[in-house]
């Protein structure tokens, strides 16, 4: 992503802090406001893309997020291919889904083990966790590497895939090239199941958020790389109608944007996917969820770590299934002739629904770009949670309050730098 925590301390040099800010205003013992700045919406990229060729969009958008480049590429190619009036065939779509599974596995494993588990176990960061439980962190890194192996085999690189393009791929792997990948994934499935069991035992406060949930839905399988958009309010729309229902408002006195779903607050991400599409998880994943104490829906943000672990089991299994059924696409990419028009794309990034819209000129130049990331959409929900958490913990000192706020934010796995400590809290 565009932000990166960079802490460099060399002799007299200054430390560069993480780029997150929470401004809390308290009056008469009441929290008046909690304004959160943890994510910069990709306005720079929307502007930068104007005037570029449609064929460049895939490479450029992959730079918006270092952890989920495939998500950005996917929502982009869905939108542009729609604008150009083409649809990728089943084989290319299946290979795209396999690539995306790699990203889910990698991103979820990273978040669970290196970012979130330390919070529940009382460690300040993953380094402290690793010092006492090296085998556990090794398991997480193994799992992440299994995801990376998919990204490298199909995307050409673990970050910023280079083998992807509009219409498909520069080169599709052969079945024999995918065989060693399947071996790794079979081992990874054990690690993924062990992960669900492990996180299921964490201490979870009993919190239920009565909030609308929004996710992509696909009739054939648990939605990842494409589908319609559904909500717990009964919405069932194609991606084209996203902006009719999701509107971003500028928040007064802040650069933040709050998104509403038909005027109401909502959440996207693992809890939304799980609660809306539970029946489409594999039997093994559903069983793991049930053994972990989850029902068919989950509205406890603290248990999102369990949902991510369940989704990791699913993604590993799904990757194995896709490899077993794999037929090499030939050609590796369909032709995407430019034409004037508008296209929309929605896919499920690890963090939630990622929406892209592009308007193309007849010669393929981008006239306008709209990118709505999941973390932007979740801004209001995260702030509401933080207001409640701060209000209930005003007696804590600044550093304890900051740590609690960071943990609360991590429930949402925001697209922010991967540092353990990224937040500046100022209380007035």
């Amino acid at each position: 992503m565009s932000h990166r925590n960079r802490q460099l301390q060399v002799s007299s040099l200054a430390r560069v802090e993480g780029e997150g800010a929470l401004r809390v205003v308290i009056a008469d013992g009441q929290v008046q406001s909690a304004e959160l700045q943890i994510y910069e919406p990709p306005r720079f990229f929307e502007a930068f893309l104007r005037g570029r060729q449609y064929s460049e969009v895939i490479d450029i958008t992959s730079r918006i997020c270092g952890i989920c480049p495939v998500a950005y590429q996917t929502s982009a190619w869905l939108a542009i291919e729609q604008a150009c009036g083409v649809v990728a065939d089943e084989r290319i779509t299946a290979l795209r889904r396999l690539l995306y599974c790699g990203e889910w596995i990698s991103s979820h494993a990273l978040h669970i083990y290196l970012l979130h588990a330390p919070d529940f176990l009382g460690y300040p960061d993953a380094i402290a966790l690793a010092a006492n439980h090296r085998d556990l962190v090794e398991r997480g890194l193994r799992l992440k590497q299994a995801g990376n192996a998919i990204l490298e085999a199909i995307g050409g690189r673990a970050i910023h895939p280079v083998n992807t393009r509009l219409g498909g791929f520069h080169r599709a792997p052969t079945r024999s090239e995918l065989a060693p990948l399947a071996e790794r994934l079979r081992a990874a499935l054990d690690d993924a199941l062990a992960t669900v069991e492990w996180v299921a035992g964490f201490p979870f406060p009993d919190v239920q958020v009565p909030i609308d949930l929004l996710a992509v839905y696909h009739p054939d399988h648990y939605a990842i790389e494409s589908g319609r958009i559904r909500s717990t309010t009964g919405l069932d729309i194609p991606a084209d109608q996203f902006s009719d229902h999701v509107v971003e408002h500028q928040v007064a006195r802040s650069t933040a944007l709050h998104a509403t779903l038909d005027g109401g607050r909502y959440l996207t991400g693992p809890l939304a996917r799980y609660s809306l599409n539970f029946n489409q998880l594999s039997p093994l994943a559903r069983q793991a969820a049930q053994r972990a104490g989850l029902g068919p829906t989950c509205r406890n943000p603290f248990q999102s770590i369990v949902v991510r672990a369940v989704e990791t089991v699913y993604a590993v299994e799904e990757a194995l299934r896709l490899i077993a059924d794999y037929v090499r696409p030939d050609p590796a990419a369909i032709i995407v002739p430019p034409r004037a028009g508008v296209g929309h794309g929605a896919s499920e990034a690890p963090r939630g629904l990622l929406y892209h819209r592009y308007e193309l000129e007849a010669d393929g130049r981008i006239a306008s770009a709209t990118i709505v990331p999941p973390t932007s959409q979740n801004q209001a929900a995260i702030e509401a949670d933080l207001r409640d958490v701060v209000a209930a913990n005003l007696s804590l000192d600044d550093s304890a309050l900051t740590a609690l706020c960071e943990q609360t934010i991590r429930n949402y796995d925001p697209c922010i730098s991967c540092a353990a400590h990224f937040l500046h809290v100022s209380v007035e």
Binding site: Q9, V10, S12, L13, A14, R63
Partner: protein, 177 residues
């Protein structure tokens, strides 16, 4: 058949869409133009587990990154060298960049044998796709210094031109394949 990993890796850390934060990738792009044989070139965004994967077990890892200093001299280059990073050894992270990744690497025994960090002082880390003049001017010096580190560990390059893309990174794709 699995080829052994190259003994040396150069890791350019940074985001080319954040102005001077792109100095790491810029140095790597220059190295790619006249690719040193037997060396992996990797662009990274600083996420620790990726750095561990990239540098674990190497004889030498050279990391190029941007740093914001106060007071600031944009374009100034700082070199930090951690020799003898044997498993179990504790190296002080004072005077070094990327502290979190290195601490995690030490705990998990995934360090390179030697780590050299070139940190280039940045003028601007806002959104943008170009390096500031001072930082751009530093790139050739960092490239030369990196090549010198590689020569120190691997010996001088052979007389043959080092354009074989297969010599280092085995996972590259080109549009032609």
């Amino acid at each position: 058949m699995t080829a052994a990993r190259p003994r040396v890796v150069v890791i350019g850390v940074g985001n080319p869409y954040r102005a001077d934060d792109g100095v790491g990738p810029a140095v790597l792009a220059e190295l790619e133009r006249r690719r040193p044989p037997g060396v992996d070139l990797i662009v990274a965004d600083g996420e620790p587990s990726q750095l561990l994967d990239a540098w674990a077990g190497r004889d030498l890892a050279v990391v190029v990154d941007a740093v914001l200093c106060d007071p600031s001299t944009p374009g100034r280059i700082h070199r930090t060298h951690l020799p003898d990073l044997l498993p179990g050894a504790t190296a002080s992270t004072h005077g070094l960049g990327i502290p979190d990744a290195l601490r995690l690497a030490e705990v998990l025994e995934r360090t390179p044998h030697e780590l050299v960090v070139f940190a280039v002082e940045a003028a601007d880390l806002g959104f943008g796709v170009t390096l500031s003049d001072a930082v751009a001017a530093a790139v050739p010096a960092v490239v030369d210094a990196t090549r010198a580190e590689i020569r120190r560990v691997l010996g001088p390059p052979s007389a043959q031109a080092s354009t074989d893309a297969g010599a280092g990174n085995a996972t590259e794709f080109t549009a032609a394949s």
